[in-house]
Amino acid sequence: MADDGVEVGPTHRRGVLGRGLGVLWRAVRDEPRIFTVAVAGSCLFGMLTIGTAYVVGAVTGRVVIPSVERGQAAPAALAAGAAALLALSVLRVGGIFARRLGAGIMQYRLQARYRRRVTRKYLDLPVAWHQRNSTGTLLSNANADVEAAWYPIAPLPFAVGTLVMLVAAVGSLFAVDWVLALVGCAIFPALFSLNVAYSRRMAPRQARAQQLRAEVSAIAHESFDGALVVKTMGREAAETARFGERAGQLRDALIQVGRVRGAFDPVLETLPSLGTLAVLVVGAVRLRQGAIDIADVVSVAFLFTVLAFPVRAIGWVLSELPRSVAGWDRVERVLTATGEMPYGTSTLDDHGGAPAALRMDGVTFGYDGGDPVLHGVTFEVPAGRTVALVGPTGSGKSTIASLAARLVDPVAGTVRLDGQDVRELSAPALAGTVALVPQIAFVFDDTVRGNVALGRAGVDDDAVWQALRLAQADGFTSRLGSMARDCGARCAHSSRQGGADGLDTVVGERGTSLSGGQRQRLALARALAGQPRLLVLDDATSAVDPRVEAAILAALRGSQTRASILVIAYRRATIALADEVVYLEHGRVVARGGHQALLATVPGYANLVTAYEKAEAEREREKAYDEVEVPG
């Protein structure tokens, strides 16, 4: 996340202001109606605030002073004054509701709208794009960055209403007395500039604190993720030092923020008071000159008091702009990201579920424009046949699996299913034809049923059970169900509906956690449930123990599945399933053919698949040698 820093240097501050206003304008265009309501409410509030000041003044001048001087209350005027104050208060509440609710609804709607857009984009962008971006970055793009982009929306209607109110206030001051108005003309701009200066001082410090927060958080995430390694290597102290250093920087940054706040807040609070005091002095002079009366002095003094707070809303909008722009930039980076792999429109005739043929021709591929990891790979999985992909660690096998399921597109060459380029196939045609079981199984935070069926049409409970049986996952699923029943309320979290038969048991992070082998079997069941016509198994049973694996292979070998199979494996039994073996080294197909033929002619292959036997034979030899040696 370190590259996502909010850098707000003084040099491009002006650019930030302009761009920030651009972001605000976009928000207004997205939600014009609710914005209008909120601003209307805010203007109403502002006018009533000014109105209240004059009513307070008028009540003082026309009711309080005459009544006290005459020693006799004028009931009608008194009632009118009180009623006016009450009425203004009720109207102000109306204004507050429109302003705050309007602003809130606008902000939340924008957040939701852009969260939807960003996550839609995630679903559209190819796996290669996902691999280029860290999980943490993508999470914060959809959450914190969207939130930051629309932060200034909350005070925006208030700020707009305040601008209107300031103009009206100065106007009204001139109507009362031009000399008092001059005091206002001195105080309001001073207040305004102080707010602007405050925001400018604050923004870079806030940005730095925010950046350090992200870094502290990233260190904690990584360190807790790797807690086992930290523990087994006894590196707790070193990790704490790494974290503590950054936490210390964050502390210093936050203290800097606090100092700016400490310097500005009390002054911002005192400035309007000075205005009020100035009004008293100037008011006394003007009063002596007979230009105004006491009611006017009270009105203006009250006005200064109530205007100070709204002026700060303008400061809030300004101070949030840099963060908003930074957030928006990151959101926009996602929204404008290219490299989508649009699906085609072609469909495939599924020939009543008959197996599909896969063919790769001269396929070259490199991750992220880097060095190719595959060079001109050509091979075929004929319909109904099983092909084993064999090669040393890091030779490009998983990449071929991804290409077959069109998680990535080749840089050169073609991948065809039943003779059709996979890039031309529609999404349903592709998903309905190929199923990939990855090396590391992903389990959704959902029920067993949801994880296997994935809401696909035609995958009912029977199909789910059938798939679980094939994947040897029916046993533990049933056990999960009965465990959930047995433990009842105490572990209700593990099952939403009591888990009558295990299908309702929630697995994944918030549910029951599964062992590596169980996760792999669940992922296999997911693939089988869709009755694919081509099954791609990427070392998909590596965490399953030999006996269970043997049972799975026996089931796959049986007639229950009618699919072509591309299988990545090292084990003989799995390879024995295959009609043909494709042997890979350093991203190139080195040899193709039957197992026996390759064993005889390709030393690398022979070396790989007979490694265990050879090791055993060698041990036998050494042992024999030792036995001969020892007595001698």
């Binding site: 996902h130 606090g258 400490g262 002079v285 998903a431």
Partner: protein, 621 residues
């Protein structure tokens, strides 16, 4: 008199003012699991202060400054009253000199209170940030000190939020909520005193006008707390949904289930939005109630004030001052509704942090009371060891076993048989429920961690890598190792060629969690990391399960050679490992069912090992 609603800049007008980056800016951090346990706020505060005595530094001074700066607020209404009565309405026309005197005196008071305000905030920020940075780091360390079992009980996101957003909540509380609450109470008191000095009758009127609001505050606050509780819960659900769409991108694409995922996302996003809107409505309602109360108080003050004035009990200036004082009175009441809610959140966060900090690590370092492992090769003894995970059946039952020094032992058995648990007990990631584990005759729980972690290293199946280079990851095992030493170690393991073939060699970045490397390659790095640590007891838990057979056999042979003279315990489901071991231990349903060299075990008829080996042969031949 000060700007009314001043503090609302951060609290009362929270939705309009994004005062401080809130929990959401921590990215994925979810602000806590579950609701607070019933423990009084005061108790939490006492516990918190006990664990962070730094917070008390100069507390009295800071509070004193806060009170002085707050007192400045009543200066202006008093000045207005004085100016109106003694200056503006002086007999014989406005008396400019008196007004100037009053104004200058007030300016002096304001200067003092402003400086006090500055000093107060400066102290407050410095002390609280310093104290809480300490809490952050201590909590981080403590999380690492907790046993694996404890770490696993909590969601990782929740643990991260203990050291991020929860600590922030405490800071916010200390810097704003707590101080504001105190100051508000002070402000209510001072305002009341000034009002009462002017007129006790009018003071009663003001109190009467605010009475309904004061009674409603608790109800408002409960509603707000519930509404914000819902918001927090739903933001967690939304983040989980987004996380799933990011982490599961491959599966979603491969199975063409983007529509279903999109629907789940929309549901979570919209649920969060409606909760936010509901919370906002509750907040605006309670804020508005304050506004209405203020209007009511103003109107009442005018009516009663005039009547009292007519009666000769009040001056014009005093009535006017009251109108200004009412605006000072309303703030604390309005603030109370929202600050109390924030305070509850902060206290809950503090409680979560304290709950972590106060858990004694159940697998603790004996520290100074401990002993070091005797030098030389390590032998292992399990004495009638039982182990069960919390609320689960026993995973290991009465395991009794001797592993002589310098032997290579393979532990095999079916998934779920307790092999990994065995490895974790051996490296003291957990302690047995019954029985004990001894290394070189020393009970494991008496061995100092500094000695234990240097001499005993476990390589787990998921060899977690840090987001840095291959070199740095290997160096994690021995920080002092230079690049030549690294290459030498890799050469000894037969991995030099592999590293040199990588585009940037040792400097190749491994990506987040090592995801830029293939699963097998990650295991190679993890193995090298353990190898350079140079332990006397090496525990391998399926450490090469994703590596190709030729590499695995080669690694096994080189490890054999280089670890000769050390004790090795390897857990494996590839029986090649067992064949190469000096002794095989077969674990089934938590018990040791067979022991001995491979050749001997294979010959035992109808045994667990026999069946495993038959399945293995069927697969590999």
């Amino acid at each position: 008199m000060r700007a009314p609603q001043r503090e609302l800049g951060c609290w009362g007008e929270r939705e309009e003012r994004a005062c401080e980056p809130r929990s959401a800016s921590w990215g994925a951090a979810v602000s806590g699991t579950g609701e607070a346990r019933p423990e009084s706020t005061w108790r939490t505060l006492r516990r918190g202060l006990a664990l962070s005595p730094e917070l008390r530094t100069g507390l009295a001074g800071t509070l004193g400054l806060a009170v002085v700066s707050m007192a400045g607020r009543v200066a202006v209404p008093v000045a207005i009253q004085q100016a109106v009565d003694r200056g503006l309405r002086a007999p014989g026309g406005p008396d400019l000199d008196t007004v100037v005197t009053i104004v200058l005196a007030t300016c002096g008071v304001l200067a003092v209170t402003t400086v006090c305000g500055y000093l107060m905030m400066r102290r407050l920020f410095t002390v609280s940030e310093t104290a809480l940075a300490g809490v952050r780091t201590r909590t981080f360390r403590h999380v690492h000190d907790l046993s694996m079992l404890h770490q696993q009980e909590e969601r990782r996101g929740a643990l991260v939020s203990r050291v991020t957003s929860d600590v922030d909540a405490i800071t916010q509380f200390l810097q704003w909520g707590g101080v504001i609450l105190l100051v508000s109470i002070g402000q209510l008191t001072v305002t009341t005193v000034v009002m009462a000095a002017y007129s006790w009758q009018l003071t009663l009127v003001v109190y009467a006008a605010f009475l309904p609001l004061a009674l409603a505050v608790r109800a408002f606050q409960r509603r707000l707390a519930a509404a914000y509780g819902a918001v927090r819960k739903l933001v967690g659900a939304m983040l989980a949904a987004i996380g799933e769409s990011v982490v599961g991108a491959g599966v979603i694409r491969a199975y063409g289930v983007a529509h279903r995922t999109a629907a789940r996302l929309d549901e979570a996003i919209d649920a969060y939005r409606s909760a936010q809107t509901r919370a906002m409505r509750a907040a605006v309602t309670s804020f508005s109630a304050g506004e209405l109360a203020a209007g009511l108080a103003m109107a009442s003050v005018v009516v009663v004030g005039v009547l009292l004035g007519v009666d000769g009990q009040l001056t014009v200036g005093q009535v006017t001052a009251f109108l200004f004082l009412v605006t000072l009175f309303i703030q604390p009441v309005q603030i109370a509704t929202e600050v109390l809610n924030e305070a509850q959140n902060a206290i809950a966060g503090w409680r979560r942090v304290l709950d972590i900090l106060e858990v004694d690590p159940d697998v603790a370092d004996p520290g100074a009371n401990g002993v070091d492992l005797p030098p030389g090769p390590v032998d292992v003894r399990f004495e009638h060891v039982w182990f069960a995970y919390p609320a689960g059946p026993p995973v290991l039952r009465d395991v009794d076993l001797d592993i002589p020094a310098k032997t290579r032992v393979a532990v095999v058995g079916e998934t779920g048989g307790g092999k990994t648990t065995f490895a974790k007990l051996l490296s003291r990631l957990m302690d047995p429920g019954e029985g004990r584990v001894l290394l070189s005759g020393v009970p494991l729980d008496q061995v100092r961690f500094a000695s234990l972690r240097r001499r005993v290293v476990l390589v787990p199946q998921d060899g977690f890598l840090f987001d840095t280079t291959i070199a740095e990851n290997i160096r994690f095992g021995r920080p002092s190792l230079d690049d030549d030493g690294l290459m030498l170690a890799l050469a000894e393991l037969g991995l030099a060629e592999w590293v040199e073939a990588l585009p940037r060699g040792l400097a190749t970045p491994v990506g987040e969690r090592g995801e830029a490397l293939s699963v097998g390659e990650r295991q190679l790095v993890a193995l090298a990391r353990a190898y350079v640590a140079d332990p006397d007891l090496l525990v391998l838990d399926e450490a090469t399960s994703a590596v190709d057979p030729a590499t695995e056999v080669r690694l096994a042979r080189t490890l054999d050679a280089v670890t000769r003279g050390r004790t090795t315990v390897a857990i494996a489901h590839r029986l090649a490992t067992a064949q190469a071991a000096d002794e095989v231990v077969v674990v089934d349903e938590g018990r040791i069912v067979q022991r001995g060299p491979h050749e001997q075990l294979v010959r035992e008829p109808d045994s667990v090992y026999g069946r495993l080996y038959a399945a293995w042969l069927e697969q590999t031949r």
